[in-house]
Symmetry: C2
Subunit: 317 residues, 2 copies
Amino acid sequence: MNKLNDAKLEVLDCTIRDGGLTNKSDFPIDTVRAVYRAACEAGIDYIELGYRNSKKIFSTEEYGPWRFCEENTLRKTVNSIEKRNTKISIMQDAHKAEAEDIIPKSESVVDLIRIATYVKDIDKAVRLANNASEKGYMCSINIMAISRETTKDIEYTLKKIESETSVEMVYIVDSFGALYPEDVNRLFDMYKKHLTNKKIGVHFHNNQQLAFANSIEVIRLGIDCIDGTLYGLGRGAGNCPIELLIGYLRSERYDLLPLLEVIEEKILKLRENIDWGYHIPYMLSGILNKHPKDACDWLSSSNKYKIIEFYKNIMGN
Amino acid sequence: MNKLNDAKLEVLDCTIRDGGLTNKSDFPIDTVRAVYRAACEAGIDYIELGYRNSKKIFSTEEYGPWRFCEENTLRKTVNSIEKRNTKISIMQDAHKAEAEDIIPKSESVVDLIRIATYVKDIDKAVRLANNASEKGYMCSINIMAISRETTKDIEYTLKKIESETSVEMVYIVDSFGALYPEDVNRLFDMYKKHLTNKKIGVHFHNNQQLAFANSIEVIRLGIDCIDGTLYGLGRGAGNCPIELLIGYLRSERYDLLPLLEVIEEKILKLRENIDWGYHIPYMLSGILNKHPKDACDWLSSSNKYKIIEFYKNIMGN
């Protein structure tokens, strides 16, 4: 029943990092600790605890600690919890983060730094990635909003990453939840063609209920790393529910129960304030290949259920 | 952008029929009329308005009119609405319906009769199918809970349908939401091998958020007919959301807007009383290949959010 073709596939939980886009990264520390503990117990390969973005761009008054992931915060988070085989990740946005915020690996609990970038910011991403690599971390570059980029620009970006960095992983990021399995297939081939000795990862959004399905598609193709979040928590329609992924893999390397426990204890309660998941405005953003921001704003307003008005707006009528 | 390889793919809306499993088929007639009108305006190929099951088995006190779909009820439902190219379907359960409840096609607004059956009831299904065919209707046999059947039993059933009926369509029904794309692929091949001159249809449940993805998988393979429901309304986790399917197809044959309109006007309101969609107990039923009944009961109880207790029960601890 084990669906892993080989032992190389890795799973990354980014519940706190991507979920932090729904609440300005302002989780109670006991929620983050519970999620961390569950990931360690479940055997998840990486857990991403938030962003290390710049305090010059994000106000510490407005944003919670997981937008900055200071070393002290991280140490308090993981304190006294057995890490097992789970590696700790943080993310830097290429256009919102600074190299000097990264301390040497020898002084940090962090293992992996992921640089999220739009194609237009690839120069900044390369600088931040090289900074992280030089300071001793594993590193990835995650190309966001890839459904909007031309083949030419994606190829240019991949060649640049290949020749100018020593990152271990490069990600396909479907920020808009616009990709169908056949699109993912095509992108995977493009990545494979231009990257040597680098792992390929995927981060899917669930606007069209395809985050898990697209994950299955790339497992068939031989992907190296898949992102998921508990109960799909994440911006807009959310992400690939990690419990579905672990359920599918049927691998002895992973244990579903700790994930279900923390969903019951911590994640379901978040639904009282955060309404992630399937909604028509998110679906339309996905189909039309647009940023989910307008849909998020619409769903936070009193117009939430006026889906025809949203449809007319997004179609430009 | 059109994803239809050819003109043959057809879409069937079974919002009222499968949704009727959540509310004992007790919809207000104006809801059913609105759904019917939307399907006609959107160009949906078939709309299934309910079951024609036996009053000896279902009490008319307890169940609403769409469990019986009497000819008078159907005529009132479709009265004065332009039918365009949309054909009308009703379903009979092989073990809960009777041949004499079917009147001749010449006296009915119904075009298609679908016989839903478990493998064990295939003899009854064949009798009901031949009854419908003889009375002048298009007919299908829909093999339910197919994820639980052995290859040998499925092949026996397909051969029986091939040799003893003249039905136009045979369906793969994933009643438990247990099938992954690779399973669907295998079943499609089996159907193709044993059926000649019969269309193949699919009906997916969304326990693992794969109903739409499995639909994409069979579109790639060349499926003939796909079931969907508005906003995924249906028993348990629900069905393939028809708006996702139509959005994906990008075909001039279909119009998304009438579907979104009726979702806004009628379907979203149903969520006040019916909580279909993604829930961990439904997910676990799907992964474990079990009937959703226990999960439905659990979610209707005060234990709704005690997912670990459900997990332990379903795992037999």
